[in-house]
Symmetry: D2
């Protein structure tokens, strides 16, 4: 399947292009090429500029930040659109597992989140840790659990949720071992998205 | 709530009695006392001998092995009965989470199980590891995942399921930190069971 | 070997007495019994009151806080005395391993400490985490590493030192699985101490 | 510092060349270039062919297998030579820490090793796990500890030594997060080696 990439010069965009041998960069074109799906990994502004160039093909958005939701909803009337904040398999799965596990815990259990990233990462806790924490809060008392952020070496990305009660502990953990995880995931989502009906999907 | 314990002289039975201050041992009585729930933590044979002594009270079975299923089903016509192979919160939860996670993995992911127990434990892999492995097999290709058994020191009980794909890994882990986990769990199940309708429950 | 325990009514003291079947409590006696070794697990004040009662037997001190150092040094002229802030095998070993590992790391490696304890623990970071952090600081740049304290469930005590550099990570971890670790350790130290020459030992 | 690489077309060799911008491949040359140090990451046979081409420069050997020890010893009379089976910081450090920790354990402690690698790895246990196991055996009773090998996903390389006794556990762990760890390490060793006196070093 042919794809186009908006943000192809970024680290993730470059890796997606590398993986999908004949991907077409979009950012400098006047209009999107006639391919079944465009993957946006640019920026909120890059996405804003992309939408008018599209030709009713599927749109997979991996950008975060202040997204142009109105334009996305408009475009989704005539094409399948998915906004996926994390292309890994594991992080969306952890969010799903949290939604099963946390409501089933007996009262009085404690939940804490530990995450580790490389020492150049500016923000703490990580965006992903925050999303996991919100997933916990949504299905318990609305209060964010304690979060602990390690910034050390070139750790790629680890997130662990501790759930502790009398005499036992449950841990849900995700380890990202390389950037490839997001590029591989983008292509997996793209293949899936082209088969979906029109509409905006926010998994 | 008053409870009676069949197998009160065993390690787990003694701890349950200790925790539920006025628990009544059953094993040497001719008939069960008039309490709302009896907890059996004796043995398959002990359970067999218990059933005729019961008085339509709730029956919580924590015994494993070759259970008298016919007698249990018969008794369950007139009382709530639950057969719970592991009184912890975490192990049944892990089995539930496996049933959500494994079918959602992309093709080609590898699953392995690591468990650790004290160095006096005779069997390997542990019964719990086998149950986790079966839960994996049931929702994938029917093949048991590789299992690794550490027997070291007085480790109380740890089970980890590794799920590994390109660039990422998901771990589901349970750590039992003391025998209390099973005694506390037995009382939690007992409280819940007395409110259930008649019938045999196998969670 | 007969022992006496000062602080026998505390949690650790009771466990030591339980383990060493015929231990003699000292705190209410006018003078220490004629046993080869006295173990103090009371308090700084309790230790202060103990010293004048002693009869030149070995003295093992497991108390922390504002200890009566002058009195200890005085007493050590005529008896072997050891002040051991942590009776486990692993924590003193971790401090020793830190002193080997940290000076051998290439420049630019990051060190962080993660510790977990039960949710009733008041102080954070734990005293042990602070001691590990000081051990790191002493053999690097004098700056304490980042510390992260989880307080969840009834976790007995876990400490991990992360050392991270380009492409790799070394972890040194200690898990205490029960209070027994300290009681067993106290008796091991006691047996060793009675064979030492007079003098004050601070391992 | 200029370097030459024997085995520059292999995965590790290519990464070393990439990292050390002006590295010179040696394998197809008649003689080694006039650089202060040659790094061999080819094969036992490749190393055999390399030695006669050398010009008394430092030689860093990262090859394993049936090495030409006589030729190496001969060459080391006139140049510093180091044979380093693992260029990471952490694995040699773990071996060092094992030699401190294991002899200091009380009798009756159990030691086990867990290692994890990608699912294409043919051998189990890994060569590194075997070396860690030998380090344990050498300073205890000569018996190799139990080893457990996970082969899952694209796990780059993890090794953990468990040391377990009553009430506590010590873990020494190494996580390699990318091949870069070995290339970076090769250059670090090379810089160090050129300052050493003639002779064969086997750290």
């Amino acid at each position: 399947m042919k794809i186009a990439v908006n943000g192809a010069s970024g680290r993730l965009g470059a890796m997606i292009c590398n993986l999908a041998h004949d991907a077409v960069p979009v950012e400098r074109s006047k209009e999107a090429p006639a391919v079944p799906v465009v993957i946006d990994v640019s920026s909120a502004e890059g996405l804003r500029q992309l939408i008018p160039k599209l030709k009713q093909q599927a749109l997979l958005v991996g950008t975060t930040g202040d997204l142009p939701w109105e334009a996305l909803e408009d475009y989704a009337k005539n094409a399948p659109v998915a906004v996926v904040p994390n292309f890994s398999v594991g992080i969306p799965m952890l969010i799903e597992l949290i939604s099963k596990a946390v409501p089933a815990l007996p009262p009085g259990w404690d939940i804490e989140i530990v995450e580790a990233h490389h020492n150049q990462k500016k923000d703490a806790p990580s965006g992903t840790a925050l999303r996991l924490a919100k997933a916990v809060a949504q299905c318990s008392d609305g209060i964010l659990p304690n979060m602990h952020s390690l910034r050390a070496g070139d750790t790629f990305g680890e997130h662990t949720i501790w759930m502790c009660g009398p005499g036992e502990r449950i841990e849900l953990k995700h380890v990202a071992t390389g950037r490839s995880v997001f590029a591989i995931g983008a292509l997996r989502w793209a293949k899936w998205l082209v088969k979906q009906p029109n509409g905006l999907i926010r998994p």
